[in-house]
């Protein structure tokens, strides 16, 4: 590839990203399907290698998946509804506790930051909490009644995932066929490396989130924290955000305990979350994410911010693997170009 062709290729990639941004809303079901396809591909490959028909493997997997989802929903939903109802009922008393707590600490805070004297923190935070308490239940029916969301979830996403799992190999063959034969090895390395980054990250990340959610929920139940199930699941959701998620997830249960005045339990929880964080860094992340992502911490933060700005929640979740992919593709193209230049110099 000459220098001009590399420039054209990079320009083409930039156009693809620009186009993906322009049609981002329509892309959501496809993105979710791609994620699911990456998650299930190893399982499909395992049974394909044993000689079973692919459509049959995927159908059985989908049926088992639906059964498990229903079982999980039957187990979790009533408990979650119960906790959320209690939470909603106790929110006014929590608001009162927060106000009392803020009244206690406002003089100390004013000494540190004098402009706070201008406004009453308890009133401000109390108003926000009351707004939250009234707006959340009002939003739930709208969220559940979102027809498009349900259509995506029950029809479009499973259908696209099925098609992707069934025809992923043919798609790769098609990609090879549209490039001139002399670029086969470059295209091969790009496809393979992207697959490796995406599947490694998603499978690793999912396993890490699964264990963190289980450990956190069990820990919160053991310590007798109210709404342990909701906070445990919230930790799992927050942990989808790389690096920052683990810290953000720890805040709500600790804050609730601090506000209720049980400082001994609060200290225990801080230690518990620090231990979980250490376990995550030394065992879970090392085991599940070691080979998939190789980005500097600052670049990870930058990726998360860019992802959040462009694609919202989906962008936050996908930011790190997408940045890793961009890094890998750039490296391949650069090494390819450098190797060809060296070989050319060697021949001349």
């Amino acid at each position: 590839m000459t220098r001009n062709k590399y420039v054209w290729l990079m320009a083409g990639l930039l156009f693809v990203f620009w186009f993906a941004y322009q049609v981002r809303v329509a892309l959501y079901p496809f993105l979710i399907s791609v994620l699911l396809a990456y998650l299930f591909k190893p399982l499909v490959n395992h049974f394909t290698a044993q000689g079973y028909k692919k459509w049959l493997i995927i159908t059985v997997m989908f049926l088992i998946g639906i059964l498990l989802a229903v079982e999980l929903a039957v187990f979790l939903v009533p408990r979650l509804v119960e906790e959320v109802t209690i939470m909603k009922d106790t929110l006014p008393s929590i608001t009162g506790q927060v106000k009392a707590f803020l009244v206690r600490i406002q003089p100390s805070l004013e000494k540190i930051y004098p402009p706070l004297r201008a406004q009453s923190l308890p009133d401000l935070v109390g108003k926000k909490l009351t707004e939250l308490a009234t707006s959340l239940p009002a939003h739930v029916p709208a969220m559940l009644g979102n027809l498009l969301g349900w259509l995506y979830l029950t029809v479009l996403i499973p259908f696209i995932t099925f098609a992707l799992l069934l025809d992923a190999d043919r798609m790769a063959d098609w990609i090879f066929s549209i490039f001139p034969s002399r670029y086969t090895e470059t295209v091969l390395s790009i496809i393979s490396e992207i697959n490796q980054v995406m599947s490694g990250f998603l499978q690793g990340h999912l396993m890490r989130i699964f264990w963190l959610t289980i450990i956190t929920t069990l820990g919160l139940i053991y310590f007798g924290v109210n709404f342990a199930l909701v906070f445990g699941l919230l930790t799992g959701v927050f942990n989808m955000v790389p690096v920052l998620g683990a810290w953000i997830g720890a805040i709500p249960p600790i804050l609730l305990v601090v506000i209720s005045g049980n400082m001994v339990l609060a200290v225990k929880l801080v230690i518990f979350f620090l231990l979980i964080h250490a376990f995550d860094n030394t065992v879970l992340s090392t085991y599940y994410l070691a080979t998939s992502v190789n980005l500097h911490f600052v670049l990870v933060l930058f990726a998360i911010m860019v992802g959040a700005e462009l694609y919202g929640v989906m962008g936050v979740i996908l930011s790190v693997p997408v940045f890793s992919m961009i890094k890998v593709v750039t490296q391949i193209l650069y090494h390819d170009y450098r190797d060809k230049m060296r070989v050319q110099e060697g021949i001349n």
Binding site: A49, G51, D169, S181, E185, K340, V343
Partner: protein, 162 residues
């Protein structure tokens, strides 16, 4: 047709079975079980080359192993002062080239060109390395087989020289 055969027609993938049977006969996959070969097949990509198309040019860094499923490929290299193209060997269905790329990424020693319409399966080095890490048992057998192939080729060259 017996009930067992009828049932097998429903759940067994004949195309995959044929592929596994084909690859098991290839030297570098000798000694592997059906499942092991199946695992390797799922990590392969397929590409069709038209007659005259260059599959991999001489001097370019090799990153993959190529296995000919169908068609004829000629391997040549530029030799002499005039750098004339000299045919080294012709390959057909079941033959493979680029096996050194699975061991190290170095410039290729010859050009591979399709002489007829060729269907070729390709294994990328990094995928192969990843598979060895996950299944060292498969890796040891394949690498041993590659060593045997290279050794045989070396003996052939030594024989020609003497």
């Amino acid at each position: 047709m017996s009930f067992k055969q009828w049932l097998e027609n429903i759940y067994l993938d004949k195309e995959m079975k044929n592929k596994i049977d084909f690859f098991r006969k290839i030297n570098i996959f000798k000694g592997l079980s059906n499942y092991d070969v199946g695992v390797l097949v799922t990590a392969m990509y397929r590409r069709t080359y038209e007659p005259g198309e260059v599959i991999c040019p001489e001097h370019e860094i090799g990153k993959a192993l190529f296995i000919i499923m169908d068609g004829e490929v000629v391997i040549s290299r530029k030799a002499g002062l005039l750098k004339e193209e000299k045919v080294i060997t012709r390959m057909k269905s079941g033959d493979f080239f680029g096996e050194m790329s699975l061991l190290e990424e170095k410039p290729r020693s010859g050009t591979a060109k399709a002489m007829s319409t060729c269907e070729i399966y390709i294994i990328y080095k990094a995928n192969f390395d990843g598979m060895i890490e996950k299944n060292p048992r498969i890796g040891v057998k394949v690498i041993r087989n590659i060593a045997v192939v290279i050794s045989a080729r070396l003996r052939g060259i030594m024989g020609q020289l003497s």
